[in-house]
Subunit: 150 residues, 2 copies
């Protein structure tokens, strides 16, 4: 198996990233992979913000995973910086290969480099496999995640 | 009762904000209100990031509440921008006065102005009163919030 590369996403990665966002039980109902226009606008916002780290995982020239890491400075916990992991997706052909672990470990390592003291993420209550996965990686399900759609 | 003002926090607000962070069952164990040095460093990071909105609520010259709103652009949900509410604190003398509602409604309104389509927050599983409060304001407890301390 060739080596895995995790690198900053570019505009050229958008079709592959959006396809992964859509190929998901929850994502299927809320993405529009046939029209990349809104994603291009959003990508420009992400790319212009130095506190956003949108990455893709690549192996043998194929884009097989993605996640977004956001750096959030804060006052609580003695002025700790935290990072937030969002939009973790693994290509359907690559699930169960350990790629999810590689991606999350990359995010945790990058968070340390960025002097974060806490990494956090939320996972839909229906994604019970994901919950076991995050707990195996040391994450603690200590919080309830609330959302309000505007 | 004089009018409530919700405004951007300045360095001069740090003693009052940190006192509120510390005057809390969870915060008491992890804050150091007697040494503001780490908070001043963190405040400079927050203040320099245009996607952070750290505010205080003020009434009759007293600082009585605080929260931090973070704007996170993203690709998922057709390129939606979301905001994250963190570090919500109400002065002990002001709990039960509706100030929490005012602060969260301010954050929701500001999120709309910033073209966000989703507001999210996490709350420690032990804060059951807070959970009921957020549900009354329309937030849905659809996610599990995971944290990893580095």
């Amino acid at each position: 198996m060739t080596d895995l590369t995790i690198r900053r996403a570019t505009g050229d990665d958008l079709p592959a990233i959006v396809a992964m966002l859509a190929d998901d039980p929850l994502g299927a109902t809320r993405e529009s992979p046939d029209d990349l226009t809104p994603y291009r606008t959003a990508f420009a916002r992400i790319d212009a913000d130095p506190h956003q780290h949108l990455v893709v995982a690549e192996r043998a020239g194929r884009t097989i995973g993605t996640l977004q890491l956001t750096v959030v400075p804060g006052l609580s916990r003695k002025g700790s910086t935290r990072t937030i992991i969002e939009a973790v997706r693994i290509h359907a052909d690559e699930r169960g290969t350990g790629l999810g672990t590689d991606l999350i470990q990359w995010a945790v390592g990058r968070s340390r480099e960025l002097d974060a003291e806490l990494v956090q993420l939320t996972s839909d209550v229906t994604r019970t496999d994901a919950h076991r996965f995050y707990e195996r990686l040391g994450f603690v399900p200590s919080h309830v995640g609330f959302k309000l759609t505007l």
